[in-house]
């Protein structure tokens, strides 16, 4: 089946078997390997992407369902001038170690901050509970998200 969708603002299409998940479509057909396959059943969150503004496990969404929709992956956050505040803060605070959970974490955080730029610590933890991390104990990740939220809301207040 032909799947046509918008990925990071660009219209993309691919001819895939109907059982293809959005994750496989992104990784194998569109060469966007930022979203990872960690469990393939929606437990680990490494495959998290945003579809029409909501974070989802791309391993649980059939590619066909993403047809006609807008998908944001980790590759869509930075511009040629700057990193996204989340990427900046994750780097600065050493929030990631092995990094495998990172793209999913940052996408979950983006989905949160886009709706709630000044979350509480609990709200951040709640937003990340679908993203497992084995390296960091989540501590620096949470700090980085709170910091990035502050930058984003200040930038918004200025504009």
């Amino acid at each position: 089946m032909i799947v046509k969708l918008k990925v990071n603002g660009e219209t993309r299409s691919a001819d895939v078997p109907p059982e293809t998940t959005l994750l496989k479509l992104l990784r194998e057909h569109l060469n966007l390997t930022g979203a990872k396959l960690g469990c393939d059943v929606g437990d680990c969150g490494t495959c998290t992407v945003i579809v029409d503004g909501e974070s989802v496990n791309s391993c649980l969404m059939l590619a066909g369902r993403a047809s006609g929709r807008e998908v944001t992956t980790i590759e869509g956050l930075a511009s040629s001038e700057q990193l996204h505040p989340l990427q900046e803060k994750f780097e600065e605070l050493g929030a990631l170690q092995c990094g495998f959970c990172g793209p999913g974490m940052i996408i979950s955080a983006k989905a949160l901050l886009d709706k709630n730029p000044e979350p509480t610590v609990f709200e951040v933890k709640d937003a990340l509970s679908g993203n497992l991390c084995r390296c960091t104990g989540y501590t620096k990740i949470i700090e980085a998200i709170l910091d990035a939220g502050r930058i984003m809301s200040t930038a918004e207040a200025k504009s």
Binding site: V41, G42, S55, L60
Partner: protein, 274 residues
């Protein structure tokens, strides 16, 4: 629906996909036809009607949590929705999908049961409604015929705002599967006695269930420690928990007693605050 009917057992309706897509990966040959029903307008939306609060079966848990009407009228449904999976699965997973999958631990079932929710079923030959309790037949088995779909859930008008409390007990805080789910709801009469108590339990029997004898034991009594404990003890006598690797049946009995007591107590507190 015609598609589902003609393909019978080899066809499945796809809602949020958080369970079904996983099943397909484990047994890819079992299904020939998937019908995506998630975008059907008649199965979506949340609204207050003459009869009560209507929740389309394709409403996601995130939509439920964000809905002002649901927050205002049935906050325990919001609380229960919040315990389902994690953000990503709540964004995909639908209340209808959760009920139709019909696992004993379905997190959405007890709080809906406690408010006497009614399931509306759409079939190729029209619609029918049943109390949610009757919708569940056994583990992964509902009363749906192959040509039928769960269309919506109705919380009857008289139960909107009914004092209620839900507790999920899992093995961790995030992304947990329930060892036990308990929802209670009750009114207090003017004289402070319990009326229309409901105790709904999950993960302790082949289907989500009411503890009817426990409800009867509490009905008309003042909600004090003695009466609430008695109801909790009776509830334990009604369940049929299993031993599995997650917990023993005996531990589930302890949890049902403690959590039934706590949900009833909290419901009574809410009632007396009102």
């Amino acid at each position: 629906m015609a598609l589902l009917a003609e393909n019978n057992s080899r066809a499945r309706a796809l809602a949020g996909g958080t369970d079904l897509v996983v099943d397909l990966k484990h047994a890819p040959g079992d299904v020939d036809l998937l019908v995506d029903i998630s975008q059907l307008p008649e199965f979506s939306g949340i609204e207050e009607t003459e009869e009560g609060l209507r929740i389309g079966s394709m409403v996601t848990f995130s939509e439920l949590m964000a809905s002002p009407i649901v927050n205002q009228m049935t906050p325990e449904i919001v609380a229960a929705s919040h315990t389902v999976g994690a953000v990503q699965t709540r964004n995909l997973g639908t209340i209808g999908g959760n009920l139709v999958t019909c696992v004993p631990s379905a997190d959405s079932a007890p709080s809906l049961l406690a408010l006497d929710a009614i399931a509306t079923i759409a079939g190729s030959d029209g619609k029918r409604s049943v109390p949610l309790e009757e919708f569940f037949v056994g583990p992964r088995k509902t009363i749906l015929e192959p040509h039928e779909l769960l269309a919506e859930i109705l919380i009857p008008k008289k139960n909107l705002g009914k004092p209620s409390h839900f507790i999920k007990f899992g093995l961790r805080k995030g992304q947990a599967l329930a060892l036990v789910n308990v929802a209670a709801a009750l009114y207090l009469n003017d004289d402070g006695k319990v009326a229309e108590p409901r105790i709904a339990l999950g993960a302790v029997a082949p289907t989500p269930m009411f503890a009817r004898k426990a409800e009867a034991s509490l009905d008309g009594k003042r909600p004090n420690e003695e009466s609430l404990l008695e109801a909790a003890r009776v509830a334990v006598s009604e369940i049929k928990p299993i031993d599995d690797f997650r917990a023993s049946a005996n531990y589930r009995r302890h949890l049902v007693q403690t959590l039934t007591y706590r949900t009833l107590k909290r419901s009574a507190e809410i009632a007396s605050e009102q």
